[in-house]
């Protein structure tokens, strides 16, 4: 197990390295550079040139990349090219925000989708099952920003919840939860369908197993069959789909951040891409990739732990 984790972490580091090369290359390929982007309409060739010199953009790309890599290897993410702020400072708060929102949404979405999925498996093909199915499918087929607008229309304009998730540093948790409720709910609607469908499918898939028949022949009731006999064995696929969705909650929420004016990493990354602020983009991309790699690793470890065959060797 430890060996697997070590191996996966090593692979993860390789993945991160490749991503940093890829992102760096992509930004190099993007038309325009940070000097042109920041000066925008006001750019003149001379000022752009001066800007580039100041930022060291006149040096060859591979040298700049190696410099950056050297810094990262020593734990220094460098400075934002655009406003010279240390990236660690720039990102710390936003990362906390992103994680908070992801966690918030997950705390609602995961139990909800598990419950819905288990109930749907229990009452499969009932009216309830179909209704939940249609509702969740519809919710994922609406663009995220649209779901957000609808929620704002129904829940914010009546004054129940604030329409923008303005989080101030000093706010207490209750206030923060209240302020970020709508983005969390939007994300919940977006990810629940997938997890719920997977839970349902994973459980139903197992209901044909001989050990389920055995349980029924022992006189076990339907609820206990699903919860005690099917669910523990369906954990691996469920954990994996949860991990995938958690990764999405961390990495894929830029649209929700924009709509609810929530200062998360996604918006930072999009902004930085548009300004060609390569060091910030790199840092954000690495954090996202880290989240993805780690979540997948955790999912694999948990699925392994959920399987007695792999935990208790013969």
């Amino acid at each position: 197990m430890l060996q697997m984790i070590a191996q996966r972490l090593a692979l993860g580091v390789l993945t991160l390295f490749l991503i940093s090369v890829l992102i760096f290359g992509a930004i190099e390929l993007l038309p325009g550079d940070i000097a042109e982007e920041i000066l925008g309409q006001s750019a003149t060739p001379e000022t752009v040139e001066a800007f580039r010199r100041e930022l060291g953009l006149d040096r060859p790309a591979h040298l700049r990349y190696l410099d950056w890599l050297g810094g990262v290897a020593q734990g220094d993410l460098g400075h934002s090219l655009a406003n010279r702020r240390p990236i660690a400072d720039l990102i710390a708060g936003r990362l906390a925000n992103t994680l908070f929102l992801a966690l918030y949404a997950a705390v609602i979405a995961v139990p909800l989708s598990l419950a819905l999925g288990i109930l749907a498996a229990l009452y499969r093909n009932s009216l309830y099952d179909r209704a939940v199915n249609v509702f969740t499918l519809s919710s994922i087929s609406f663009p995220e920003f649209f779901v957000a607008y609808i929620l704002i229309f129904f829940l914010a304009q009546s004054g129940l919840f604030p329409s923008i998730a303005r989080v101030t540093p000093g706010a207490d948790l209750a206030d923060k939860l209240h302020r970020t409720f709508l983005p969390a709910l939007t994300l919940t609607l977006v990810v629940t369908a997938h997890m719920m469908r997977m839970t349902r499918a994973a459980i139903i898939n197992l209901l044909a197993s001989p050990y389920i028949e055995m349980a029924r022949l022992k006189g076990v009731g339907p609820a206990r069959i699903v919860l005690r006999h099917a669910l523990p064995n369906a954990l691996a696929p469920i954990i994996n789909v949860i991990a995938l969705n958690l990764a999405y909650l961390i990495t894929g929420v830029v649209v929700v951040e924009v709509v609810f004016v929530y200062p998360g990493l996604g918006q930072l990354m999009v902004d930085s891409v548009s300004k060609r602020d390569v060091t910030v983009v790199q840092a954000a991309a690495l954090i996202f990739a880290c989240a993805y790699v780690l979540l997948n690793l955790v999912a694999d470890v948990l699925s392994t732990l959920s399987n007695p065959r792999l935990v208790h060797r013969r």
């Binding site: 000066l39 309409q41 004054g159 923008i164 709509v259 902004d271």
Partner: protein
Amino acid sequence: MTKTTNHSGQLGGISRRRLLQGASALGAAAVVGPLGARVAHAAPKRGGTFRLAMGHGNTSDSYDPATWDNAYVQVFATARHGYLTEIAADGSLVGELAESWEASKDARTWTLKLRSGVRYHSGKAVTAEDVIASLNYHRGEDSKSAAKPIVKGITEMRADGPGVVVVTLEAGNADFPFVLSDYHLPVMPSSGGKIDPTSRDGCGAYVVDSYEPGVRATMKRNPEYWKSGRAHFDAVEMLAIVDPAARQNALVTGEVDAIDRVDLNTVHLLKRARNVEVVTTTGTQHYTFAMDTRAAPFDDNNVRMALKYALDREELVEKILNGYGEVGNDHPIGRSNRYHAASLEQRTYDPDKARHYLKKAGLDKLEVSLSAADAAFTGAVDAAVLYSERAAVAGITVNVVREPNDGYWSNVWMKKPWSAVYWGGRPTEDWMFTTAYAEGAAWNDTFWSHQRFNALLAEARSELDDARRRAMYEEMQALVSNEGGVVVPMFASYVMGLSSKVAHPEQVGANWTLDGFRAIERWWFA
């Protein structure tokens, strides 16, 4: 209470004397032509936290004046910094840190007398050295400042005692004090002849508490602010809300007190909301479709004229601006400018004339590509689509190319032969023409080079006679309109949404959005 007020600011009506010999005239500014019928407010009250949400703001924003490129940082800068001159709500130029100024006869040497006793938030006094360092920051070989072309004309600056700065220009410029009001040019504390561009210190009405670029800034009133009758709010919170729907929702749900850039698609719905006032000002902001006059087929003025007649300007104002604007006349000088050529005949949609010019160019039909993105201006793509629909009637195929917002200014503007462009406008005709129409100007986006125009421009700049100056500028407008490479379909209003709690003076500045960027120090809670 819901109502709309339109303030059409005018930069006219300033006497020559006042221009050359300016003095601060705060409170004495005449109220010029308010079109709205807003009930006059009682005397401004102090207090409250003003929450302002703006449709700009980027995480890469900074304190550095060289890089200010969006309204958020511009309003933010204006709130915390002092400038040498200020454009008053009525469009007149008044002194701010410069108490008065005087020009030499040829308008080449300007002597600025600084207001005494003004201090930065840090407590340091504002000096002539600071003024020189602040302007110098944008000059010189190594300057990366967007304002570099603006201060290019300065050849020398020197302090004449602690309170006087003497500026020498390359050539006479009667409008120089206007230039000093540019948002890039705040006066910042200096040491050793250099300013620290990353410093937040200024001498403006508000002191920065916290700033997270692209997210929010919080400020407190500067207790020692020298202006009277300004800076009514105790504190200010500025939010960047880029998504228009989110911004409007924030206003409607009372999360913020004011927003800029109201989505024109839904402004009619916003107006219905209770406790919301929509304020519009029409100034110099205009949208253009700039053709590269060096490139075929745009090198033929007949083609340009054909295209100018193939566009329904009224429709664009109606559909793109939802009526919040005025039609343009293919030159960049708006009705609020001093020397606007009112006598120039308004160009209208006329497919027959377009065909006629096409024939003159020796063509039956024409196919051209028009690059647009919402980065150029909101609704640019739609405007291009409408253009293409109308042009089709005249036998002109306009292929609309939606360009990415990202990198629009570096990759499309002045690179593609025909593209949509946004201009905030300039307070003076000279400034506008010099920036974008003079031969060899960095932002001459039509690459237009017209001998007569260039000669007139140089001449008018140092011309002291008002009537002759007017004649010259009117001729230049006609030249641009009839021979230039630019289609100017419309002048766009600034449309802002205000909670009814927010009060503002009867006259709202039209030179920029949000009362000429100065809403924070000029407005108050009713």
